[in-house]
């Protein structure tokens, strides 16, 4: 308690001290006067003998203090006062810092939520995706998703593994739910046993799907997602136990997932159990994604080894049918490449986010450089004050600390303001963010983000203060008490720090602008790529599915689809209509299989390259604007007549037969039991997976075929995309007419994914456009800050050199001479900055190579354009103060003295 009493009695102690010291001096003076000295001499002598009174008092007081904290508080008070006295400076500096910190915090919150935070499952680090590749499978190299799992693989892995706690496969799809209100197409996930056990999160209501629900031809059950449950059933708990009709089949609802639950990163409405019938399974059917939870302590490498061990068991246990060799898959070189589930969820977005984080960080540096410049100018004005303080005995450590405290406060206040900006920034980011950004719903400003903000604020505060503090208050700083700031022409030395900062700003601005420029060039390059369809904004697409429980006979399905096409074509404003199994870039999983050509031989007789295959109706090519390169298109009589014909893509024709026309008349089939199909047409290449990816080789089957999937009956495709070309595409009135047209054929058919092709296209380039927008914003910010920096420095030099310029003008220098002189100074800085920036950009832009398309990371045109833009803008920024300099009146300038 002693120290507490001391704190309270301090005022008295201080008073005593002052009085005591005063008494001491008086006594001494009197004694000296008594000895015969004059009073004035005595006073001086007493003071000399005593030493620095103020310092003594301070030292004496310090004995009673918690020194460091109290000095800090004093520094803070002092700093606040200094900031308040300069509201203009404070406002500009604060705003700059706040915008910088706000932007950084916003982007960091996205990086944190998407890339850093563990997935929303317990012990998420144990979760893996069973990714595998098959480098030996011809054609499969195109499939960036690798080789999915087949059901037989799932059973083998689930039953023989040693490394996993649980493991399962899943798939996405769509289904129509009928009997509630109007028919609705819902997003489904199909899960095998093991998936939910691996994810290990409790349901919100009811129970999870279990092994008992996975029995083929057993009870039909289903789970609802939280969102769908809220939307369709208003969160009614009694829904558990009720039946809903999914794809025309009643299923009992057993439970509801908890809020925000996603299967890996798939948001869905309804979860359906996969009920594989083991007796009918073959080796093939690689259509499922695998997810698993490894046992504690098992590494990815060990898990991979475990899968590799089981592959021979798989080939020994199953077959593809009589006469086939189950071990031919050895030539595919199937290699497990298990990935942490988080990587699977994040996908390729991490490149974008890190690039954006890096650029925003650079913007922050540019902003800091600007504020540092402001501080430098201001501290120059305060030199007098600092000199006085030094003369009064302030140590340099104390002064440096004082200045740092001031700048750190600036940083922290900017940080607080920035956090508010970040809140708005995150919303903006989500608004312009790529729609397929994973974990979108998890993005928030959490404790870690706020910690980042505080650190950034502290760091930038220190960074801001360091240069001015060391330069003007640090050891060896030459502080002169000068009278009235009558500086001679400023020395080079004094401007060096500011010039270096401006050069740095120009360099960083160049890096950012070059990155933005490269993205613009990428975007341009993407726009020039022919995607394989034309005039996307006038293409209306929609998915319609006709479940087997609704219409059983395949031919009926095609008749209904044909009828819908006719109704669509008859809708006012529609030029033509067609259907396809899926449009390019729609993002639905495509089908692929080995495709054999009759006149080619394949090793092992089962091995043929894997090809993507699709189904198209007559009239589709014309509707989509996809060019027919050679031959002819399907007709309805071909289709209904089940004529064995096929069309192929141009690249497939060239690869197999050399030219498109050489392909005509050749024969293809998918598997040995299928009749040969004659190639009647060759279609231009289509950028199936987005314009960035090369066009895959595609086989186009007619929408109704014999012996499809080995069945005896003719088969049709039940879920297809309808395409209609119309000037009215996308308008509400048009969509209403389209719905009526479909429902006039069958009122139980829901329409899903109703979009224009332009939306599909935009979504497929969303990653690029998002990066472009972000880099554009960052580049623009850096450019503006850089210009302000140059302008500020040049203006300041001009005002400092007023006298010199006045003399020059008085001695007969012309206005243009002065302008040239000042421009030269600006040009020097800009050129130095551009040179350094080009060097830095050459080093940094390769980091964004994965985001570029059709342009190299060192594209000379972009570099040249950005460099000349920067120099031009820099010169413009210098020109204004330079003009002002020529208007200096020599008389006035000299009279200032």
């Amino acid at each position: 308690m002693n120290w507490l009493m001391q704190v309270f009695s301090r005022r008295r102690i201080y008073g005593d001290l002052s009085e005591e010291i005063r008494g001491h001096l008086e006594e001494k003076i009197e004694e000296l006067v008594a000895d015969g000295m004059s009073r004035k001499e005595a006073t001086a002598a007493a003071c000399r003998a005593f030493g620095n009174v103020t310092l003594t008092e301070e030292d004496s007081r310090n004995v009673w203090r918690w020194t460091s904290v109290e000095e800090l508080l004093a520094d803070i008070r002092y700093g606040l006062r200094a900031l308040r006295h300069n509201p203009m400076f404070t406002a500009v500096a604060l705003l700059t810092i706040a915008i910088g910190i706000g932007a950084n915090t916003a982007v960091f919150s996205v990086v944190n939520s998407v890339l850093l935070k563990p997935l929303n499952y317990p012990n998420a680090e144990q979760l893996v995706s069973l990714h595998q590749i098959a480098p030996g499978a011809p054609g499969l190299a195109d499939f960036e998703t690798g080789l999915h799992l087949s059901p037989s693989m799932y059973f083998t892995y689930a039953e023989h593994n040693r490394a996993f706690q649980s493991l399962g496969v899943w798939n996405t799809g769509t289904a129509s739910v009928t009997g509630l209100a109007e028919p609705e197409q819902v997003r489904t996930v199909e899960v095998s046993d093991g998936v939910l056990q691996a994810l290990d999160v409790p349901p919100a209501v009811g129970r999870w799907l279990s092994e008992a629900d996975q029995v083929p031809r057993g009870p039909q059950r289903v789970m609802l997602s939280y969102g769908y449950w809220q939307r369709r059933f208003g969160g009614d708990r009694s829904v558990v136990g009720r039946n809903i009709t999914v794809d025309a089949r009643p299923r009992e609802v057993v439970g509801v997932t908890h809020k925000g639950f996603r299967l890996v990163d798939t948001d869905f409405d309804v979860m359906v159990p996969l009920a594989f019938d083991r007796r009918n399974l073959i080796l093939a059917g690689f259509g499922f994604e695998g997810v698993a939870r490894v046992k504690p302590g098992v590494t990815i490498a060990e898990a991979n080894a475990d899968l590799t061990r089981m592959l021979p068991i798989w080939m020994d246990s199953w077959t593809n049918g009589p006469g086939t060799n189950p071990h031919f898959y050895e030539t595919w070189k199937i290699t497990p490449m298990i990935r942490p589930l988080k990587r699977e969820v994040i996908g390729n977005v991490s490149d974008v986010l890190w690039v954006v984080m890096g650029t925003i960080g650079l913007v922050m540096l540019v902003a800091c450089a600007n504020v540092t410049n402001l501080l430098l100018v201001r501290i120059e004005a305060r030199q007098q004050e600092l000199a006085v303080r030094a003369a009064l005995g302030a140590g340099w450590g104390r002064m440096v600390r004082g200045l740092l405290v001031e700048s750190v406060m600036l940083g922290l206040m900017g940080g607080a303001l920035g956090a508010a900006f970040a809140y708005a920034g995150v919303r903006l980011l989500l608004a312009i963010g790529p729609a397929n950004l994973p974990r979108l719903s998890e993005i928030s400003l959490d404790a870690r983000t706020l910690g980042f903000t505080v650190l950034l604020a502290l760091f930038s505060g220190l960074l801001l203060g360091l240069i001015p503090a060391l330069k003007y208050a640090g050891p060896g700083a030459s502080l002169a008490l000068r009278s009235g700031g009558r500086a001679a022409s400023a020395s080079r030395e004094r401007h060096r720090a500011r010039n270096i900062l401006v050069v740095g700003q120009v360099a960083m601005a160049l890096v950012l602008l070059v990155s933005a420029g490269l993205m613009i060039r990428t975007f341009q390059a993407l726009r020039t790529v022919d995607p394989g369809f034309t005039d996307a904004q006038h293409l209306q697409v929609m998915r319609i599915s006709i479940p087997g429980a609704l219409v059983a006979e395949p031919e009926r399905v095609l008749r209904i689809q044909n009828e819908i096409l006719e109704k669509l074509a008859a809708t006012p404003g529609v030029k033509s209509a067609g259907l396809v199994s899926e449009m390019p870039m729609e993002g639905f999983d495509s089908d692929w299989d080995c495709i054999f050509a009759q006149d080619k031989t394949y090793p092992d007789d089962v091995m043929a390259p894997l090809r993507l295959y699709k189904y198209i109706s007559p009239g589709f090519l014309q509707t989509a604007g996809t060019r027919l390169v050679a031959g002819r298109e399907f007709t309805w009589s071909d289709v209904y007549g089940l004529r064995p014909i096929v069309m192929i893509s141009e690249n497939l024709a060239r690869e197999t037969w050399g030219t498109p026309s050489a392909a005509l008349g050749k024969q293809l089939r998918e598997f040995p039991s299928m009749p040969w199909h004659e190639v009647i047409g060759v279609i231009e290449d289509v950028r199936e997976r987005g314009v960035q990816d090369k066009a895959p080789e595609i086989v186009y089957w007619p929408p109704m075929m014999e012996y499809l999937f080995g069945s005896k009956d003719a088969q049709t495709v039940r879920t297809v995309t309808f395409v209609a070309r119309s000037e009215r595409a996308g308008t509400e009135s048009f969509l209403n007419e389209v719905r009526q047209a479909v429902w006039s054929v069958n009122s139980n058919l829901p329409l899903a994914s109703v979009r224009t092709m332009e939306e599909v296209y935009d979504k497929s380039v969303a990653r690029t456009s998002f990066t472009l927008v972000m880099l554009g914003i960052a580049g623009a910010m850096a450019l503006v800050l850089g210009i302000i920096g140059i302008y500020g420095v040049i203006s300041y030099t001009v005002s400092q050199r007023k006298r010199e310029i006045g003399i020059r003008l008085a001695l007969g220098a012309q206005g243009e001479d002065v302008v040239r002189m000042i421009l030269r100074q600006g040009a020097k800085m800009a050129l130095a900055g551009v040179a350094i920036g080009i060097g830095a950009a050459l080093g940094l832009t390769p980091l964004m190579r994965s985001l570029l398309f059709g342009v190299t990371a060192q594209d000379p045109r972009t570099f040249a354009a950005v460099a000349s833009l920067l120099i031009l803008v820099a010169l413009l920024a210098c020109y204004i103060p330079a003009r002002r300099a020529t208007r200096i009146d020599p008389l006035v300038a000299l009279r200032y003295e």
Partner: protein, 113 residues
Amino acid sequence: MKTREQRDLFPGALEMMILRTLKRQPLHGYALAQHIKRTSNDLLQIEEGSLYPALQRLLKEELVKAEWGISSTNRRVRIYKLTAKGAKHLEHEVSRFEKMLEGITRVLAPGES
């Protein structure tokens, strides 16, 4: 401007001298300064001011206490007095100092090695 180290001879020396002086009789600051100066024959260049921080330290550690009173020249002054704790501390310090001094003297003594 001298730094504290220069003023202080070696750490604790000034305090020791103050305590020793106060042991003889209670004094106020000025008298204390004069006494130390006089008895040291002005050999120690001590700024008078440096006395006060030292006094504050001693006060804080309760080695001395201070009271306002009237000096012989009829001034209102603060008179410092040694406390029991201070006396003990002084003894301890002096013996420590003597040992140190002895050591230093031996090392500095010529001809013995």
